[in-house]
Amino acid sequence: MPTEPARGAGPQHPLVPLLQALTELPGPSGREHAVGRRVADLLAPYVTDIRHDALGNCIALKQGAGPEPRPRLMLAAHMDEIGLIVTRVEEGGFLRFAPVGGVDARAVLGQEVRVHADAPLPGYVGAKPPHLLTSQERDRTIPLEDLFIDVGLPEEAARRRIPPGTFVTVHQPLTPLLGTRVAGKALDNRASVAALIEAMRLLARWHHEADVYAVATVQEEVGLRGAMVSTYRVVPDMAIAVDVGFGAAPGLPEDQVLAMGQGPAIGLGANIHPRLHGMLVRTAQQHNIPHQIEPLPGSTGTDAWAMQVVQSGVPTALVSIPARYLHTSVEVVDLEDVRHTARLLAHLAASVTAADPEGWRYDLA
């Protein structure tokens, strides 16, 4: 068995450069191309085939060594991030915008952004100055439609360079915190994309029988769209979505959160095939991978939800990386959780044999 990356501290953690490379690229839903190309470059050394589909999903295949027909395992993590989109340019060159995905109006004011016009233009999200507000107004969250982006350009130049429909992302470099934690934008869900890449790196040097598809999906934040169509193409025998889950923090309901730094969460519920859940738990136990169980009543709201009901149905599971302050520019994850997620995925993939897919669907006597 090859050596796995050593536990590192803070900025020295081996996953920091990978996460930096992934999170600092802009990739709002529907405009993931830059991220998709980077993911393809990062995966290339470890896989046998890579393609981008009609919606921009990046679909990589690492062929297994087993006899044909080989079982097909699909690992998926969405690479899109929430963002903003310019709706019109107003007098003075200020940009009005609408959300792309679930943008939290409380966290947008005062953010530095990049406006992806002919070149990425730096901008800032402003509002009516506070000294012009009544105290009642100050107590309320400012609705998105009352905010604007200022790129400092004269009106004429703004109109010429920034057509309505221009995408905008927040600007926030990855910041290493104490220990093995980092903060940044788009860790939802590039942390999982990093885990996917790391898993494929491990798997590349191991013997495995199954065909393993690593898919970086698009447009999850606007409706699980990329997962739906990429799963239709792959038609896997089993599929695992990797996403972030709510990391424990004050004020959150205790039965809805994951502990930070205690390993990936393995989902349990209607969206998860019980056998695949069992395989993940056993894999974690066998390889001493810290993990937690996440009960998920009803919809998981993740790619797994869409993947499960493709064609005649796909056995699905969900692995979650605990993350705090989701859908803001300061999301926090623990890199050890990311590393252990990668190990879990790689070990599971390596353990899938031809016999596994049998029994997912069966005839009754």
Partner: protein
Amino acid sequence: MILRELSELPGVSGDEHRVRARLWEAVRDRVDGGRVDALGNLITWKGADRPGPKVMIAAHMDEIGLMITRIDKDGLLRFRKVGGIDDRVLAAKAVRVGPDGIPGVIGLKPIHLLKDNEAKKAVSHEELYIDIGAASKEEAERVVRPGMYATFATAFGELGDGLVKGKAFDDRAGCALLVELLALDFPFPVYGVFTVQEEIGLRGARVAAYDVAPGLALVLEGTTCADTPGTDPHGQSTLLGHGPAITVMDATHIPARPLVDGLVAAAESAGIPWQWKRTTFGGTDAGSIHLTRAGVPAATVSVPCRYIHSPCAFMSLRDFENTRRLLAAFLEDVPRVAERLAQGSA
């Protein structure tokens, strides 16, 4: 009657296997074959190689319920809802927890200790907990794990004038109807499909319909019946005892007109009482079936049930029997209905 057993079995969305096992036992001698798919749907068939349109008849096995999400320090269980449950029906109900059906009750703060106005406010499920009698977290953990399901503990029974009561008539009533229909013989291929995960988004039917690729589909349901005090006549979706309800539109589908006409004609010519379902909210498996592949003509027929999505529903056995008769009469007509469908798309 099999409805008694089906009603009392636990089968929350995602955990339908006990219901599936009982249903397979009930239909295995009536069908040519059966299979279980990746989501847990039970797909059965008879006369698969006969000529004529493949007819898919679907009823969902799952019921609304609860999932245990956390065991508190004192051994009480926190839970979340699975499917659409009105929070206000939860307080002070008996439940069964997990695969072994451990008895529990949903506890709440006693009335004596309530502050002003607190008694008037609906209690959110987040403030409630299940008490299984465990004295500590450790004791509870010996029998319960987060992720386990809980259902209402409601005994099936007869009451009133030909009524029965029980939990999960939505849609074990439909399952029981489908069991009865599969005893009949048809000159065309029939797929009897017992679906999963209807209550959380019509999910089982979607993949089963993709797999079966039917020419037309019928969905059997237990539906709301709001003929009780305080409901305006025009808000009464169906009336108990007035026969099977035929859907004209709901939030998920507009049934194919030739099927609706065929159902009405079958009821009228056989003298079977029937009614329109008179509200348009909610949805059924037909919502996902009719959008499968290049489209499937589909319709929904329901048995009216009072107090649906609550611990206990009422159903009229006469309505059940009339629904069975209507479906049997309609199925005899299927070749003619199929002709009309074909003409419609010429």
